[in-house]
């Protein structure tokens, strides 16, 4: 993983995290928005400008790849590099979560 990817994506935005998390199964932008809304009980509602911008940025950086088009919607899936970035981020969040738990005890 090169320095640019690390600098831009570790740590990453909530939007970026949910995109990678959801794209372990192929999906399109609006599909991700709906899934995230369901996963977070409506607390996180991603917006289309943010989604479109993030998807094109992540595709350019090789974190996700285009699979096929369906009714004018581009379907993407995560790449190997994307998986690596996601697992780094998950590790970081788990560490944060442990610290939160410890602080609460």
């Amino acid at each position: 993983m090169d320095a640019h990817i690390k600098k831009v994506y570790v740590p990453m935005t909530e939007t970026g995290f949910y995109i990678l998390l959801c794209l372990r199964t192929p999906n399109h932008g609006y599909g991700i928005i709906q899934r995230v809304e369901a996963m977070t009980d409506g607390e996180i509602r991603l917006a289309p400008g943010t989604m479109y911008g993030s998807l094109s940025k992540m595709e350019k950086d090789g974190l996700i790849e285009f699979v096929q088009e369906q009714d004018k919607r581009k379907i993407y899936q995560i790449t190997k590099l994307g998986e690596e970035v996601l697992s780094l981020e998950m590790k970081r969040i788990k560490r944060l979560y442990r610290s939160v738990k410890e602080a609460e005890q």
Binding site: G29, R45, L46, A47, Y52, G53, S56, K57, R73
Partner: protein, 185 residues
Amino acid sequence: MSTFKKEFRYFTIFDYEKEQDYLSQMHEHGWKFTTVYFPGIYCFEACQPEKVVYQLDYNQDGLAHKDEYLQIFRDCGWEYLMDFVGYSYFRKPAAEMKEDEGIFCDDESRLDMMKRIFRGRMVPLLVIFLVVLIPQLMRQLADNAWTQGTFRSSLFWFYLGLTVVYLIFFIRFALHYLQFKNRHR
């Protein structure tokens, strides 16, 4: 009473937030935005006063892949209106929103849009500034052009004026960028 109305408004390329507010206010007063054309003539049609959120995006990649780009906005309930000088115009009635909603949901993507405006609009200007304006001005300064004949001296003042306009433009952009960064820290 007329059912159409035109207004002249000048917004710079950094004033898209003001432009959005202006269009929302017009709609709330019963004037629905229909189109805008050069140099800033905004056209409206009489309508039922309503709270409607207007949003502008600047995304050249989106314009190049228009079908997918517009589809995701449509899926999210945003009506696409038109493109004007690189900006795409969208609107959505507030009644269809659960809470305050925009086409961006985090500051990172708002800043990304500003960077796209910078790359698309400011970089070409900066190149002209550095490659054409500054060398011209330096040459004329070296020749004492302002003392020589009407044509040479008016050319000198023209370049000087243009340089000042450019400088004001760049400073405004820098201030706008810094203000945004501070506001969202």
